[in-house]
Subunit: 213 residues, 2 copies
DNA sequence: TAGATTGTTAATCGATTAACAATC
DNA sequence: TAGATTGTTAATCGATTAACAATC
């Protein structure tokens, strides 16, 4: 029944979580919205508004309990349960992702890589041929498919995994996947990010020239 | 003198560019804001507003010339000049990035990888010891440093490259880099993206349960 | 109790959308 | 010319910030 939480808030959740971990790691058990705001470089109002989206976690006059906040956020983000993952595409990126520490740290378990042909395991993870994907998914419950293929075939691959029952896609290919509305897609857009960097770089340079002239 | 272009607009620039390339590749030379809007799944108003930020590129009653738009955007994004790149950190991610096609495609040239010790070249790119970075940067004009190290040392590394004169950082480490205001930083936050995926996945599942009950 | 800090309501700001005159 | 479509101004919407009563 709760009204939908806005994209803007969702994108801040991971940052809150990361800074709360810092606090815990430093043995700090209590934090105020003001302190958190300072750390994240946002306003205290925003912190409290954001937290209000999920219900009040704080205590007036005291602040927030770091451990409680971590537990709440862990549950909200979904880090309190295991996720099984497959990676499609065993090129540079797919192989690198198979060794990505972030997976294991947060309860994501990479079960297999898929490519055109099977191959030697990387980082202890087997590489299977894509034409065995159907039987693999019949035998293994998989929560998340990572798409690390070339852009050209990414859409086809996405349709395939969706058809075979995977409902969450982490997409590294430079395409906008069009999938059914019950399928969740999150993109890592490297080329877009690089373009933004390039744009900002050019801007920064031009500004310096402007000042000089 | 032009007023600053908003973050929201800048983040859409790469998408415009990508879809314009599609159009060109399909031999389409002319496009309207309506057609572009449909492709990007935004409104035609927004397309025209966005373009207005950079000056009017269109012709009333006709639309936009695809080739002209590409040339304009290429210049705005900064793809019309070469950029030289180094990558710090030769782990999984650094190595994968050294082979990233997006670099060469858009005029970014990766000159070297750096790690604790030097090592065998990957993808034709040499790996040098980090303690040779200073002399390397004295001899080579580098525009962009990619940070692909562990989070723990990312900040230290960032400070180092900035000190040695690099003004643009593409950061893959899960930390918020604090650098001088004239330094441009663009982040690829894999763990944050994965958390967002996890959150959305959990939401989608819960909604299904809600409906069922 | 007094001080601190939340949760929430109202005000502000900025981004998106709608509308339409200009014009090709 | 008539139709299409831009560029721009105004209206709407949503997100951020400010303010403050509630309360620990």
């Amino acid at each position: 029944m709760q009204r939908e939480v806005s994209q803007a808030v969702i994108k801040r959740l991971p940052r809150y979580y990361r800074y709360l971990e810092h606090l815990r790691n430093n043995g700090i058990s209590k934090v105020s919205s003001g302190r958190l705001a300072e750390m994240l470089d946002i306003t205290a109002s925003q912190v409290r508004q954001d937290f209000a989206n999920f219900g009040g976690f704080g205590q007036q006059g005291y602040g927030y309990d770091v451990e409680k906040l971590l537990k709440e956020f862990s549950s909200i983000i979904g880090l309190d349960s295991e996720h099984s993952v497959i990676i499609i595409g065993a090129g540079n990126m797919g192989r690198a992702l198979s060794g990505y520490r972030g997976f294991a740290n947060d309860g994501f378990s990479v079960k297999a890589l898929f490519d055109l042909k099977d191959g030697e395991p990387v980082n202890g993870i087997p590489i299977y041929a894509i034409d065995t994907l159907e039987s693999f998914l019949a035998d293994n419950q998989i929560d998340i498919a990572v798409i690390a293929t070339q852009g050209k075939i990414a859409h086809e691959v996405a349709c395939l995994v969706v058809e075979l029952g995977v409902k969450s896609i982490w997409n590294f290919a430079p395409v906008d996947l069009e999938v059914a509305s019950d399928v969740v897609v999150e993109n890592i857009s490297m080329s877009e990010s690089l373009y933004v960097l390039s744009y900002k770089t050019k801007q920064a340079r031009e500004q310096i020239i402007d000042i000089k002239e």
